[in-house]
Amino acid sequence: MEHKVLEDVARNIRISVVKEIHAAGSGHPGGSLSAADIVAALYFDEMNIDPGNPKMEGRDRFVLSKGHAGPVQYAALAERGFFPKKDLESLRKIGSKLQGHPDLRKVPGVEMSTGSLGQGFGAAVGMAMANKLDGNTGRVYVVLGDGELQEGIVWEAAMSAAHYKLDNLVAIVDWNGLQIDGPNDEVMAVKPVDKKFAAFGWNVTVIAGHNFEQIRGAFAAARNCKGKPTAIVAKTCKGKGVSFMENNAAWHGKAPNDEEAKQALLELGGEW
């Protein structure tokens, strides 16, 4: 697949993210936009999935442990054909399948209900263990936020994944450096992320999280790593693609108003 194709997919996902959150009137654009390229590469290139059969035997699984970035997962699922793109307008509205944070019981393609940070990572470890137990070659991909790494359960999960040699598990840290209250370094330093995972027994790569060559290269390398889970520490930009949201913690959990949404879509090449 050409990188260009993925770039277009990621752009469409970003456009959907802005539209979804604008329509909802609340939500988390910053961390959805920072993870868009990683999520695009997973859903359109890396993972073995079937939108027509979301529960396909032997499929790869994706867990969005940073569940507040639900809009980026919903956008990717719709873009991939798991449900109509029109449904994205219902985000966070009463009766919608698109809850504020993903619900596996409601959305085709969502493998784990997340939102309370750290738990999706543990669940992903369980899924990888189940696959090993069953001789199932499906792989498990879990995306974590950098602020999320402050949760103690993350390191319990990291320890257990290495202990059980889960080389079918890949954790991608969306390292945009910002969380609700400000920069990680000010709130509660999480650095050095790469060394922490390495110390916990993981195979670690640090990549530029908006560079498809590096993203795909890291996934390919993870497949070749045996006996250890892989952590991909992806340096990203919070709010990536929308100038006034980029690197601004204020856009962690705020919806754009009409004018801001219009401007964001203009920058992304989407239609208002």
């Binding site: 738990q119 543990g122 369980g126 899924m127 359960i153 319990e156 257990s160």
Partner: protein
């Protein structure tokens, strides 16, 4: 009378069910010799996962295993399962309706010598507030095994409360016990004692003492606290003059509260509540503690007499 701890019955039953249910996976958090899951680990090492002293992650991983199709029994002490990992159980197991059986041992004051940090009186209250969570508290070794199998066959989250101390076995192996159906183990017309867990044995003893005093007490083993057998409770409220609840749990939020909720909305009747009275426990022998904290046979007798 034969005595056996419900945790002992649990450990033994797991080994048997491991053969019968090939999908069964067992987890523990470094307490497998105490929770008795170690026997399963020996018999089925590939289906046993020790997660170390990390209860939160154990229950999150259990959710992932269950969502991938496994039936999971994940054990540790009741304090750490329901207390420390509450929010993981709520969000990753309850909300997802994951097929995880939280089989927690060493519940209540009969943990004994370990003292207050290990004696949980809050677990039933916590677990029964989670939508869709089945809450089971077996009274003896035989019913623990029967109800464990029912729990394994039920698709969804279950909290099973098990004890450390050996308690009398009074059920026969062919007893017909169903989740959500109370078991009336002694009929009586004057007063009803609705008990759960190890307090059922104490309630039976209390009924014998009451009989000597000319009081005909009914004893119900309410092994399932959720879903609650309201029918049996209302029947007791109608047919006897009062209800005593007995549990090795706080009087706040547990069996007593659940029974009171059922009674006040359909057939109000006088009640008395035997349980931990909003205080922490302390070290001591189980029997000494039950006596000191007013959860003994004599306390049930006095409470029943107070309703007549």
């Amino acid at each position: 009378m034969e005595k056996m701890a419900t945790r002992q019955a649990y450990g033994k039953a797991l080994v048997e069910f491991g053969a019968k249910y090939s999908n069964l996976v067992v987890m523990d958090a470094d307490l497998s010799k105490s929770t008795m899951t170690a026997e399963f680990g020996k018999a089925y090492p590939e289906r046993f996962f020790n997660m170390g002293i990390a209860e939160q992650n154990m229950y999150a991983v259990a959710a992932g295993l269950a969502i991938s199709g496994k039936t999971v029994c994940a054990s540790t002490f009741a304090m750490f399962a329901t207390g420390r990992a509450f929010e993981i159980i709520r969000n990753s197991i309850g909300y997802t309706k994951a097929n995880v059986k939280i089989c927690a041992t060493h519940a209540g004051i009969t943990v004994g010598e370990d003292g207050a940090s290990h004696q949980t009186f809050e677990d039933i209250a916590l677990m029964r507030t989670i939508p869709g969570m089945t809450v089971i508290n077996p009274s003896d070794g035989v019913s623990a095994k029967i109800l464990l199998e029912r729990a394994i066959e039920l698709d969804g989250p279950v909290y099973m409360r098990l004890g450390r101390a050996a308690v009398p076995v009074f059920y026969k192996e062919d007893a017909e016990l169903e989740i959500g159906k109370g078991s009336c183990i002694r009929d009586g017309k004057d007063v009803t004692v609705i008990a759960t867990g190890i307090m059922v044995g104490k309630a039976l003893e209390a009924a014998s003492v009451l009989a000597e005093k000319g009081v005909d007490a009914r004893v119900v083993d309410m092994h399932t606290i959720k879903p609650l057998d309201k029918e049996m409770i209302v029947k007791a409220a109608r047919e006897t003059r009062g209800i005593v609840t007995a549990e090795e749990h706080s009087v706040i939020g547990g069996l007593g509260s659940a029974v009171a909720e059922a009674v006040v909305s359909s057939c109000p009747v006088k009640m008395a509540f035997i349980g931990q009275r909003d205080v922490f426990g302390e070290s001591g022998k189980p029997d000494e503690l039950l006596a000191k904290y007013a959860m003994d046979v004599s306390d049930i007798v006095r409470a029943a007499e107070g309703l007549l």
